[in-house]
Every structure is written in C-alpha cells, then in structure tokens.
C-alpha cells in the first residue's frame, strides 16, 4: 500500500525535523540560559556536580552585590550616555544624508558604498591615529570621545537604513507639498518625518545596541571615568576565581537591554541587520 508508506515517510520526516530543531535550539539557547541561571545561583549551586540546570533556589544577591559594591552601575551609566548621545547624533546626520542620497541622487552608488566601506573596516586600523588626536585634544577617558568615535560605526548604518525607508515614500508627496508652497525643509518636516518615524525609532534602537555592545574602541579610549560596561566586564576574565555569580550577574546586566530591545523591535531586526537591504 503506497499510501501508508507515504504517510509513514511524512511522519518520520516530521519527527526528524523536530529533533533537529530541538538540537539547534539547545545549542543556541544554552549559553544564554547558563549565563542568566548562573547569575541567580548561590555559590554551592554554581559549582555543584552534576550541574543544577533547573532545580535550584534562585537568589538576587549577586545582582545586589554588583549594584552596591562594584563599578558596574557607574559603567552602565557611562554606556547609556555614550550610546544615547551617539544615537542622537548619528540619527540626525545620517538621516539628513540619507534624504539627500535618496531624493537628489547626490554621489550615487559610489558615495553609498563609501559609507558602507567605512563601517566594514576593522576599527583597530584607525584607532592608533585617532588615539593620538584624542590625546592631543585631551579627550581620552572623557564622555565626549566615544559618542564621536561611534559616528564611524553608526552614521553609515543610519544612512543605509534610512535611505531604504525614504525610498519607499513616493516623491510626489513632497512635490505636491512644494506646489502648495512648502519649502524643502517644510516638506521634510511635515510630510517625510511623520512617515519615517517608526523607521527612525527602529534604526535608533539598533544604533543604541551597536554602541552599547562596542568594546575595542571603548577599551582603547577610556580608562575609568568614562569606562563602559563591556570594558568593565572584560576585566573579569580569570575563570580560576570563585566569583562566578558576580561575574555572570555583571555580564547579564550588559546582555539584558539588547535582548529586550530586540524582542520589542523584532519586526525591524532583519532589516536592521542587513542595513536596510532586506525588508521583512
């Protein structure tokens, strides 16, 4: 009976698929699960063998300690300052440029790819010269240096993202506004800006995540006063010490904001990760 054969094959294919999916999920979720669960474990539970995966008494002591007795809150605030001010600057300049490229075709494809290639360059390449300038301007370890440096990262991103959003608006909308007596800026303010606001928010969120996660430049350009979370956490890498609870709690503090933001803005994530090249 061929009919039964086909259904047996279909069912077994389905089971294989589900098993494969579970294996994949386990691999990609486990490290994050481990990080968060360790951060709410007591020391005895962290080092117990066999490891306690699900059944243990959750505590928040590690977080309390990290927030009370370490530099993590200070570094967190530094990260927020750097990421937010950079996001504002990048959005402003990047969206203006995106509008110019989208509507007036200034610079064409070459300008667009110039922006992208800046983003694609290894940041270590520019860090020594920029460090020397920053040192001369006495900007090392100040709150000004990272927001400016991250423009290299985020302006190209905003240009590409916002160009893709502005491209979707028919040009006739602004033209009719011009006929009604609107200036160029007036048309942008009244017609374009309201339409691209969701895109602007999503792009800003991604800028924030990129700046929040950045490590190499932050490590080179900050020491203490302006040190950001990733740099602070990178100091904990000795596994031999026993403070795994504190370390994982600090790392979780750095990991949670991007995950929450990605969760909220998931609709825009594929578009963001491909710099607007792919819409989802």
């Amino acid at each position: 009976m061929p009919g039964i054969k086909v259904t047996v094959r279909k069912v077994s294919m389905r089971i294989v698929r589900i098993i494969l999916l579970i294996v994949a999920l386990a691999f990609f979720v486990y490290p994050i699960f481990w990080l968060f669960s360790t951060s709410i474990k007591q020391e005895v539970d962290i080092f117990s063998s066999p490891p306690k995966l699900l059944i243990f008494k959750p505590i928040i002591d590690n977080y309390v300690h990290v927030f009370k007795n370490t530099d993590i809150p200070h570094q967190g605030i530094n990260s927020i300052i750097a990421a937010l001010s950079n996001t504002a600057l990048s959005l402003f300049m990047g969206t203006m440029a995106a509008y110019g490229i989208s509507r007036f075709k200034v610079g064409g494809r070459r300008l667009l790819f110039w922006f992208l290639s800046l983003r694609m360059l290894p940041p270590i390449v520019v860090s020594v010269p920029l460090f020397i300038i920053a040192a001369k301007l006495r900007l090392i370890d100040t709150h000004y240096v990272l927001p400016v440096l991250y423009l290299l990262l985020n302006i190209p991103f905003v240009v590409w993202m916002m160009k893709s959003f502005i491209d979707e608006i028919p040009e006739e909308m602004e033209e009719s506004a011009h006929i009604d007596g609107c200036s160029y800026f007036g048309a942008i303010w009244r017609i374009v800006l309201p339409i691209i606001t969701p895109g602007l928010v999503a792009t800003g969120v991604l800028c924030f995540i990129f700046a929040w996660n950045e490590f190499l430049l932050a490590m080179i350009f900050t020491r203490a006063t302006a040190m950001t979370l990733p740099v602070g956490i990178s100091g904990f890498i000795s596994v031999e010490q026993v403070f795994w609870g504190y370390i994982t709690a600090s790392a979780s503090v750095a990991a949670i904001p991007p995950i929450v933001l990605a969760w909220i803005f998931q609709r825009y994530m594929v578009r963001g990760l491909t710099f607007g090249a792919l819409k989802s």
Partner: protein, 303 residues
C-alpha cells in the same frame, strides 16, 4: 526645452535641488571624511618609519623596509593564515547551517522561534566570549561535563593550539549562524509561490526544487549574508581578546588582534601601521568584489 523653462535667475531648478542635496549630506560626509582620511594618511606615513609611541625616541624614515621586514616575519604570515582559515571556516559553516535551520523553521508559524534565535546576534561579543570561556573551562565548564556524561573524555579546549582555534570558531558560529539564518528566512518568505507550484506540477523532487527554484532566487540574499559575514569575520577581535588572547602559541592570533598587540604591547607602531595598510587594502578589495557580486545578483534576479 524643459530645462530652460525651469531657469530662474541663471540657476536651474536642478542646480538648486542638487545644492540642497549636498547640503543635506555634508555634515555626515565631512565628519566621516575627516575621521577616516586623517587615519589613512597617518598609517601610511607611520608605516614608512620606525616609530614608537614614546615621543622622545627619534622616528627614523625607513621607506618600504618596514614592509619588507613584515613580509619576512613568519608571525605576520601566521596571523594572516589564521585569519584566512578562520574567516573561510566560519563563513561557510554559518551560511550552511543557517540555511539548513532556516529551511527547518520556514514552515513553522511560531514567531517566538525567531526571537529566540535573534538573541545571540544582539548580545555583546564580550559577554559571549566571557560566557563561552566559562563553558569551555577544562574542569569546571559544563561542556566537558556533558562530554563525560556521554562517555567521552574531557577536552582541553583552550589549552591546545588546534582545539583553541576550533573553540573560537565555534563561538563565532554560535553567535552569527542565527544572523545568517534569520536573513535566509526573510529571503525564503519573500519568494513568490508560483515557481514552486509549477515545479511540483512538473513532478520535481524536493531536492530539485531546492537546487533549481529556491537557490537561484535567493542569490541576492546569499550575496548579502556573504558580504556581511566575511567582512565582519575579518574584523573579529572581541571574542579573541576575551577567550584566548591570541594563544596558545599564536594559534588564534587573528589579524586585528595582531595589530593591537604590535601597537599597544610591542610598541612597534611602524609594524602595526604597515599591517593596517594591508588590512585596508584587503578590506577594500573584498568590499569591491562583494558589492559587484551583489549588484549583479540583484539585476539578474529582477529580470
């Protein structure tokens, strides 16, 4: 004649528009131009000198000797080779695995799956590196624990050159396969249904549909993933810094990390600058190849 009609006071409307366009671009363009052209010129100048970070030590012009010196340095070639194999390995595996998982998920409805797979790509590489360093720890890491429970021996992941190299590859694959997967998934979902129905009516097998219907239509998406992943993998620094610091015996010393070492630890700014010049050249070549590939793929699928 249309151009003449638009003329007002010697300037065409097109001129005004163009000028406004340039005005809009100039803040972003000027600041990025300054922040990139100065470093570029600077690294080229420094690469022609013997240059230390201490200003009192005289800087000697050595011409291209720095480059000759670099090309004779076996550690430079080792680092280039490590980077090349790392990039090639992770990009192939991430794309293959990402595509396979995207096929597994594409028929399921649940949006939560996508969000779960999004997590690795948005967590800071520093956090990822730290987490994996603990997971891979020889006697306290849970990976070795799982290995022993299924009857295998503990692996000294980070202690030996080869396993350390494999370890950092696994970490990169863990973080970026979901990125490739999500983009393939978006690509799969944007495909029109008609070619599939036609192929099925013609009696094509699943494999044939995949090979002759899905893959050709996905070329632009494949090109995007290839470009982003290759150039991003070329920049890898954070996880190396966190997990291996380039060791053991330089087995994981990728290019960015080597430049960092030369500049900030060995105090050989000339050497670091010469390596940076090579990095700029390599990245530019790759950008050009990929951008051509991308525009070619986009025009052929649009036809």
């Amino acid at each position: 004649m249309a151009g003449k009609l638009e003329r007002s006071g010697g300037r065409t409307l097109g001129d005004v528009r163009k000028r406004f366009g340039w005005a809009m671009i100039s803040p972003a363009f000027i600041i990025l131009f300054i922040m990139s052209i100065y470093p570029f010129v600077y690294v080229i100048v420094v690469s022609l000198h013997r240059w230390t970070i201490v200003p009192t030590i005289p800087r000697v012009f050595v011409g291209f000797n720095q480059y000759l010196f670099m090309f004779k340095d076996s550690y430079f070639w080792k680092s280039l080779w490590v980077t090349f194999t790392f990039v090639l390995g992770v990009v192939i595996i991430e794309m293959g695995l990402g595509f396979a998982i995207s096929l597994l998920i594409s028929t399921s409805k649940g949006r939560w799956l996508r969000v779960v797979f999004l997590m690795p790509a948005v967590v800071a590489p520093v956090v990822v590196g730290l987490t994996w360093k603990f997971l891979l720890s020889y006697d306290l890491g849970t990976i070795n624990y799982f290995l022993t429970t299924i009857g295998l021996k503990r692996v000294n992941w980070l202690g030996k050159p080869f396993t350390a190299f494999i370890s950092v590859m696994i970490v990169d694959i863990w973080q970026w396969t979901p990125f490739a997967m999500l983009i393939f998934l978006a690509g799969l979902e944007s495909l029109p249904l008609e070619p599939y129905e036609a192929a099925r009516v013609d009696g094509a097998s699943t494999w044939q549909i995949l090979r002759y219907v899905t893959l050709p239509q996905l070329t632009p998406v494949i090109a995007i993933v290839l470009m982003f992943r290759t150039l991003d993998a070329f920049k890898t620094f954070d996880i190396i810094y966190m997990i291996t610091r380039g060791g053991p015996s330089n087995a994981t010393e990728v290019y960015s990390y080597k430049i960092y070492q030369k500049a900030f630890f060995h105090n050989q700014l000339g050497f670091a600058a010469a390596m940076s010049v090579i990095a700029i050249i390599l990245a530019t070549i790759m950008m050009n190849i990929f951008s051509r590939l991308l525009s070619k793929a986009q025009t052929t699928t649009q036809k």
